[in-house]
């Protein structure tokens, strides 16, 4: 288990010397990355990428130790800032509230943003939110091992479990197989269907919403969590379902992000992960099943994907179905379209019970504005 929290004596030394060391204030996404590295969410990473890891990640979808890895974990700084930092330096990483971590700079290097975008997202179009993000990054990267000094106080403490905690929890619950579910939306009946279908074959389900920077119009984090609490309270067995969050800014890298999501869930102790249609996709940038096909490239991932096709509610079947299970025509189908649900909610209308559990729907509708507005 990776644990890069500094020991007390080392922590003291860093706090004493901090003033004399170069300082960097991190954006919230980088604060998340630091803690995810330190707590083993990004195991086997022990720091930010050096150039070799970055190139291998882009070209081979692997790290320099051959471990599968598809999303660059990089620490960017401005050209100006980079002049104050030399290789082999110890530097101090800050969050908003103060000292977060120390990093031993192994390498300082330039990188090609176009190339990075092309490899990771398959496009350099800046309409793609992941690509747009890359072009806002600083021009210089620094790689090196980190040591965590202070954990950030988090808003949803009860849902911030580390891999060591989820692993021990799953063990205590006697779960030998656990399926992970990635989400960034309140649950509709289709989500519940895939989760429970997967749960039929595993001992437990780990619901793992991604909490991080959102786009305007996305559901608010607190609404997503509360709606899952409501669903779990009424429709799940307490001994079979656990929810905890992943602090991470979505990259919308489709297939590459699906692999990354799988690695992270493996680190939390999952044996399986649900991969749906257009997993981690955005717009029409990816083939809807590319995020499933990519798993063929990784025989050594250590977690099994469970693939789901598109599903819908079928009035004649009387339940959720998919193209493999339902022989009826489209006129009998009700789709779980996100935009349709969103429209109903905006109009303060309850989505029908075929689409969303009434308890969940009511909870969302009672919010004056359940969406991110700024």
């Amino acid at each position: 288990m990776i644990n890069l929290s500094l020991k007390a004596s080392e922590k003291e030394r860093i706090i004493d010397q901090a003033k004399e060391l170069p300082q960097i204030e991190l954006r919230s996404d980088l604060v998340n990355d630091v803690e995810n590295i330190a707590n083993g969410v990004f195991s086997p990473l022990e720091g930010f990428f050096n150039n070799e890891d970055l190139e291998l990640c882009l070209f081979e979808k692997r790290l320099s130790n051959d471990f599968p890895w598809t999303i660059p974990i990089i620490l960017d700084i401005s050209e100006e800032r980079s002049k104050e930092i030399q290789e082999d330096d110890e530097i101090i990483l800050h969050n908003k509230n103060g000292l977060l971590a120390v990093m031993k700079v192994d390498e300082k290097y330039k990188y090609d943003k176009q190339k990075l975008a092309q490899y990771v997202f398959g496009t350099t179009e800046t309409n793609h939110p992941g690509v747009a993000r890359v072009f806002t990054l600083g021009d210089v990267l620094i790689g090196g091992r980190i040591g965590l000094v202070n954990e950030t106080k988090r808003q949803y403490e009860q849902y911030n479990l580390k891999p060591i905690e989820t692993r021990i929890l799953f063990k205590e619950k006697g779960w030998r197989t656990v399926v992970g579910f990635q989400t960034r939306n309140p649950p509709h009946i289709g989500h519940e269907y895939v989760q429970k279908t997967a749960l039929t074959f595993t001992d437990g389900i780990f619901i793992n919403p991604v909490i991080g920077k959102k786009k305007i119009g996305d559901f608010r984090d607190d609404v997503i969590l509360a709606s899952y609490e409501e669903l779990m309270k009424h429709y799940y067995l307490k001994e079979r379902a656990v929810m905890s969050i992943l602090n991470f800014d979505m990259r919308y890298a489709g297939p590459r992000e699906a692999i990354f999501h799988a690695i992270v869930r493996k680190n939390f102790g999952c044996s399986h992960i649900i991969i749906g249609r257009d997993h981690a996709g955005v717009g029409n940038y990816y083939d809807p099943y590319a995020a499933q096909d990519i798993f063929e490239e990784f025989p050594d991932l250590g977690i099994f994907p469970i693939f789901f096709k598109a599903f819908f509610y079928c009035k004649r079947c009387g339940g959720v179905a998919n193209e493999k299970t339902c022989p009826h025509s489209e006129t009998d189908h009700i789709s779980f379209s996100g935009s349709k649900i969103r429209k109903l909610i905006c109009d303060k209308k309850l989505p029908p019970e075929e689409i969303m559990r009434p308890e969940v729907a009511k909870l969302i509708i009672c919010e004056e504005n359940p969406f991110v507005s700024e």
Binding site: M1, E55, L56, F59, E60, D66, D112, K115, E157, Q158, L161, I164, E165, R167, I168, L169, E172, V242, E296, F298, P299, D300, L301, G302
Partner: protein
């Protein structure tokens, strides 16, 4: 130009392993009409699969007793465990 440079860098990451020629031919035959484009990519795939299996067995008991007690205490406090 940029692409060529990338190719060179990638090549440096490979090394050679010897396998018996008849086995090589058998594999060549076997991978026809599959997604594998070369015997090397097939052998790499199979080796990664086997090596990963071995690694999984090694990581059976990764935490100490103190860690476990400390974690269980927090899980109880947060309501995850009774």
């Amino acid at each position: 130009m940029a692409e060529k440079k990338d190719d060179e860098k990638q090549r440096k990451k490979f090394t050679t392993v010897s396998i018996p020629t008849p086995l090589f031919r058998k594999v060549e035959e076997r991978i026809k009409d599959t997604g594998f484009t070369s015997v090397s990519s097939y052998v790499t795939y199979v080796l990664r699969e086997i090596v990963a299996e071995g690694e999984k067995e090694e990581e059976e008991h990764p935490f100490s007793e103190e860690d476990e007690e400390r974690v269980k205490e927090r899980l109880r406090r947060l309501g995850y465990l009774e």
